[in-house]
C-alpha cells in the first residue's frame, strides 16, 4: 500500500488537458448551480439502453472517470427508476425493449423528464427503420431534451445536461 500512496501523492488530482480545462470548468460550475437550484443539490438519472451499440453507455461510464467525475456536481446515475428524476434513453427503441422501456418510464415518480441520448433514439443514426425497431422515441414518449452525437462525448453529455437543466 505504501507504493499506492506514493503514486497517489505524485499523481495528485488529474486536471484536464489545458485546452479543455476552462471550458469544462465552466460547464461544471454552471451545472452545479442549476442542480442545486432545481433539484435541491442532487439530480438522479436512470440510464436505459433501448438498443444502442453500447458506445453511448461507454461514454456515460466515462463521465465517472477522474477526468470528468460527474458525481461531484450532484448528478448521479441511479439503479432504480423509482429513485430517478430523469430517464436518459439511448438506442433505437427495439421491438423487444419497447415494453421494458415503457415500464421503466412508468416507474419514475412525477415530476419526471426523459432525455434522449445519441443519434439513435431520433432515428438520426445510419440505421434504417426495420420491423424490429419502434423508434423514433418521440412517437412514444414525451422527450424533454435531446443530446445529439454518435456517440456524444462526455463533454457533450455534460453540456447537454446543462442545456436541459436550463430549459426546465
Amino acid at each position: 500500500m505504501i507504493r499506492f500512496w506514493e503514486k497517489r501523492a505524485k499523481t495528485s488530482v488529474v486536471t484536464e488537458h489545458p485546452e479543455l480545462e476552462t471550458q469544462i470548468d465552466q460547464i461544471r460550475r454552471s451545472i452545479k448551480d442549476e442542480v442545486k437550484r432545481k433539484f435541491a443539490g442532487s439530480l438522479a438519472i436512470r440510464m436505459v439502453d433501448s438498443g444502442s451499440c453500447n458506445a453511448c453507455e461507454a461514454e456515460c461510464n466515462a463521465l465517472s472517470n477522474p477526468y470528468y467525475d460527474l458525481e461531484r456536481l450532484g448528478i448521479r446515475f441511479v439503479a432504480s427508476p423509482r429513485h430517478a428524476d430523469v430517464m436518459l434513453l439511448s438506442g433505437l427503441l427495439t421491438f423487444n425493449m419497447y415494453h421494458h422501456v415503457m415500464d421503466a418510464w412508468a416507474q419514475i415518480p412525477e415530476p419526471k423528464w426523459s432525455v434522449t441520448l445519441g443519434d439513435c433514439p431520433l432515428m438520426n443514426a445510419p440505421f434504417q427503420k426495420s420491423f424490429a425497431i419502434k423508434g423514433p422515441v418521440a412517437e412514444h414518449l414525451p422527450v424533454a431534451h435531446h443530446i445529439p452525437g454518435c456517440p456524444p462525448d462526455p463533454e457533450t453529455i455534460m453540456q447537454g445536461l446543462l442545456e436541459f437543466l436550463k430549459k426546465i
Binding site: 439502453d49 438498443g51 466515462a62 477522474p66 423487444n96 425493449m97 427503420k129 456517440p151
Partner: protein, 456 residues
C-alpha cells in the same frame, strides 16, 4: 474440429444451411416447402442458439434438437413470422398477444428463482439472466438475450457494400474497428484486389488500440466488482487517455468510420509518447494489484471454466484463452512478424481472465510500436463489387469475429455475422455452479461480452 457458425440462406428453390468449422464448411440443401434439418447441437452444444435463430429467421424446423424455444422472437413477437425470408418485407410489426417464455429452472425444496434484467442496475446493455438458487449458491443460470435485436442482417440486404459500412461500424461500439476490418476484408475480396501493406498495418494498429481501450476499461471494472474501486479510477483514467488517442488518430473516440481505403500519415510522435507512458503505467499497475491479497481472494477460483468445457462449447477469445485454448485469429505470419505472442492462462477463473488482459495489453503496446513504423500515406482504389460469397475472420477485443456476405450485382444479398459473444454467452452458465450469486457480476464482467453484437 472447432465449430464456428451455422446459418441459413434462401435460394431460388431451396434453403441452404451452412455450417462453418475451422477446417471446413458444410452446405446442406433443404426443401423450401417443408424445411427440416437435423440438429448438430448434440455434438456441438453451442450450435443450439444458431439453430433456434435459424427457426426464428426462416422457419426451418430442427429435428432432434433438445431446445425448440424461440430465441430472437420474444413474448410479444407475432407467431409464424420468419422475417429473414425474402418474401417478408414489412417495415413495422404490431405486438402480438403475450406468450410466456419457459425458462430453464431447477426445482426442489427450498430452491428458488432469481430474475435479473433486461434493465440492470448499472449503466449497461439490456439482457436477462435467470438463476436457480439454493440460498446463496447458484445451481443454474440461463442467459436470455436479444432485447437489442435490430434486425441488422435484414436491414443491410439490398444495400451497396459501401452504403452498409456505417451501419456495420455501429453494430457493436466496443468492437467497431474489428467489424469495420471484417467488412473491409469482404469488400476487398469482392473486388479481387489486395490491400497495400501500409494500409494493413494502419488498420491493425487501430485494432490493437481498440483492444487496449476495451481491456483497460475491463481491468478497472473487474477490480471494481471485487470492491477495489481505486483500480477503476486508475484504469478508467488510462482508458480515457487511450480513447483520446483514438480520437487524435481517427477523429472519433471509438474509431467509427475510421477504416477507409486511404490513410494519411499519423502523428507518431504523440502516439509513441503515449505508448511509453501507458507501458510504464501498466507496469506499475501490475505490481500494485498483484500485491492486494483481498483482490485475489475474490478472483482466484471464481467462475471457473474448465479447459474441457471451454473446448466443448467452442468458446473463443479471452474466455477460451484463459482456459488454455490457443485460439486467436492473429496467429498468422503477418501478426507474428509484428510481435504477436499467443497469450494463454490455464486456470479458467476470473484471475486468469484478468491476468490475460494484462498480458494482452502489454503485447498490444509492443505490436502498435511495430505497426506505426510504416507511416507513409497509402490508398487503395475501390470500384463496383463483383458477384460472390465472401467471409472474414477478425480477432476483436472479445474474440474471434466471423462475418460473411453474399454480394450479387453490387448489392448485399445475405449478410451474416457471428460476434464472439454469441459463442461465449452460451458458455457463461458453465462458470456459475459452485459460486454465490454475489459473484455473478464479477464473473460476467471478467468475460465482458457484447450484447449489441450478440443480438444484432
Amino acid at each position: 474440429m472447432r465449430f464456428v457458425a451455422r446459418f441459413a440462406k434462401e435460394r431460388q428453390s431451396s434453403f441452404e444451411v451452412i455450417t462453418v468449422f475451422d477446417e471446413k464448411t458444410e452446405i446442406e440443401q433443404i426443401d423450401k416447402a417443408d424445411p427440416v434439418v437435423e440438429t448438430i447441437a448434440t455434438k456441438y452444444p453451442a450450435a443450439i442458439w444458431f439453430e433456434r435463430k435459424m427457426h426464428d429467421d426462416f422457419g426451418i424446423r430442427i429435428e432432434g434438437a433438445f431446445d425448440h424455444r424461440p430465441l430472437v422472437h420474444q413474448e410479444r413477437f407475432p407467431k409464424d413470422i420468419h422475417p429473414m425470408r425474402k418474401d417478408f418485407t414489412e417495415q413495422s410489426l404490431d405486438f402480438a398477444e403475450y406468450r410466456p417464455y419457459k425458462y430453464e429452472a431447477i426445482g426442489g425444496e427450498g430452491v428458488f428463482e432469481v430474475s435479473v434484467g433486461p434493465i440492470h442496475a448499472g449503466i449497461i446493455e439490456p439482457g436477462h439472466f435467470h438463476f436457480s438458487q439454493a440460498g446463496e449458491d447458484i445451481l443454474h443460470q440461463e442467459v436470455r438475450h436479444f432485447y437489442k435485436y435490430r434486425a441488422i442482417e435484414k436491414m443491410v440486404e439490398g444495400m451497396d457494400p459501401l452504403q452498409a459500412a456505417p451501419i456495420i461500424a455501429r453494430i457493436s461500439g466496443n468492437e467497431s474497428v474489428a467489424y469495420q476490418i471484417a467488412w473491409r476484408d469482404i469488400v476487398v475480396q469482392a473486388l479481387g484486389t489486395v490491400l497495400p501493406n501500409a494500409l494493413l498495418k494502419r488498420h491493425a494498429l487501430l485494432l490493437e488500440l481498440e483492444r487496449i481501450i476495451h481491456h483497460l476499461t475491463d481491468l478497472g471494472f473487474i477490480s471494481n466488482d471485487a470492491g477495489f474501486a481505486a483500480a477503476l479510477a486508475f484504469c478508467s483514467k488510462l482508458a480515457e487517455e487511450a480513447r483520446r488517442m483514438m480520437k487524435h488518430l481517427t477523429r472519433h473516440r471509438f474509431g467509427f468510420d475510421a477504416i477507409t481505403f486511404e490513410a494519411d500519415p499519423l502523428d507518431i510522435g504523440a502516439l509513441g509518447q503515449w505508448l511509453d507512458h501507458l507501458q510504464e503505467q501498466m507496469q506499475w499497475f501490475r505490481e500494485w494489484v498483484i500485491d492486494i491479497p483481498s483482490l485475489w481472494d475474490r478472483f482466484d477460483t471464481t467462475g471457473i471454466l474448465t479447459p474441457y468445457k471451454a473446448k466443448k462449447y467452442d468458446t473463443v477469445g479471452i474466455v477460451a484463452r484463459a482456459s488454455g485454448m490457443a485460439v486467436d485469429v492473429r496467429l498468422n505470419p503477418f501478426y507474428l512478424e509484428h510481435g504477436f505472442r499467443m497469450q494463454t492462462q490455464s486456470n479458467g477463473d476470473v484471475a486468469a481472465r484478468f491476468k490475460l488482459r494484462l498480458d494482452e495489453v502489454a503485447n498490444s503496446i509492443e505490436m502498435m510500436r511495430r505497426f506505426m513504423m510504416d507511416n507513409a500515406p497509402s490508398t487503395c482504389k475501390v470500384q463496383s463489387e463483383a458477384k460472390g460469397s465472401y467471409s472474414a475472420f477478425v480477432e476483436s477485443s472479445i474474440g474471434e469475429l466471423f462475418m460473411t456476405a453474399d454480394i450479387k450485382n453490387g448489392k448485399i444479398e445475405r449478410f451474416f455475422v457471428r460476434d464472439p459473444s454469441f459463442m461465449n454467452w452460451q458458455a457463461l452458465h458453465l462458470m456459475m455452479p459452485g459460486n454465490i450469486i454475489a459473484d455473478f457480476p464479477l464473473i460476467n464482467k471478467s468475460c465482458d461480452l457484447s450484447y449489441a453484437g450478440n443480438d444484432l
